[in-house]
Amino acid sequence: MRDGLFIAFGILTILGGLGVVVARHAIFSAFSMVIAFFGLSALYVLWGSNFIAMLQILIYTGAIVVLFVFVVMLLDLKKESSLDTGSGLAVMLSGATVWFFSLLILRAMNRGSYFASEKVLVSQDMRVISHLLFTKYLWPFEILSLFLLALIIGVCVLARPDSKEGPHK
């Protein structure tokens, strides 16, 4: 049953990802992205990592894609934008990517199960993650807070409505 659910949600995730690329309206891309992220968090749950799954929904699905949708509305991307398939480089790159990931999938299938060993599952417990984050990785965490501050200031300066270079009303 677990393998069945994994395949179902895996297909959902891949379909969502495909939708992001091939959708003709930008807003459908955003919608597909919601589905892809939702499927991805379901996969996290199947891997036994509920905490990461919930944070995935909270941050990626609940915040980042909202920002994308806002951008789509901001730029009024209602007209259909055709997919630029003419470029030879794009075809080559996507072909190489598909080939690479097919190999990865085939390799995983040879192993018999889609799931890692139980040891990995246990180590993803949320208390363990929290302890690691605030003991072993405390310094990276503090430096991260500095980065976030820099991000806030940088974003605000770049997007300032009244600046000469930035976009405005």
Partner: protein
């Protein structure tokens, strides 16, 4: 993972309910279509072409709110794992308190910067 099985069931139930609602209204409702009825709602304007629909100057402030929300949401998300283990970590030492005080200091700095430059004023 077993704990999530009812969630999947709930998901299916909610989908079924949505489908049922969609189906029932399409069967029961009458169907009388007209040009005016199907035009976008606008008070006192009867010419569909006159309605500018979504060609509205999008207020840039909303975009800024979304960006700032994203950044503070990421910062807020760090409080959750911290809160989970804070109380039991007190039995060992106060590292977590100091760590989070430093983190909060930078969060407050960011907030002050955003407020001082009036990035969130919508008017």
């Amino acid at each position: 993972m077993e704990a999530f099985i009812p969630v999947v069931i709930m998901f299916v139930l909610a989908l079924l309910l949505s489908g049922a609602i969609y189906f029932i209204t399409s069967v029961l409702g009458p169907r009388v279509r007209g040009r005016i009825k199907l035009s976008p709602y606008e008070c006192g304007v009867y010419e569909p072409a006159a309605q500018t629909s979504t060609k509205l100057p999008f207020q840039f402030r909303f975009y800024l709110i979304a960006v700032i929300f994203l950044l503070f949401d990421v910062e807020g998300a760090f409080f959750l794992p911290w809160a989970l283990i804070y109380r039991e970590s007190l039995a060992v030492d106060g590292t977590l308190l100091v760590g989070m005080l430093v983190f909060s200091f930078f969060v407050v700095l960011g907030l002050v910067y955003v407020f001082r430059n009036k990035y969130l004023n919508v008017d």
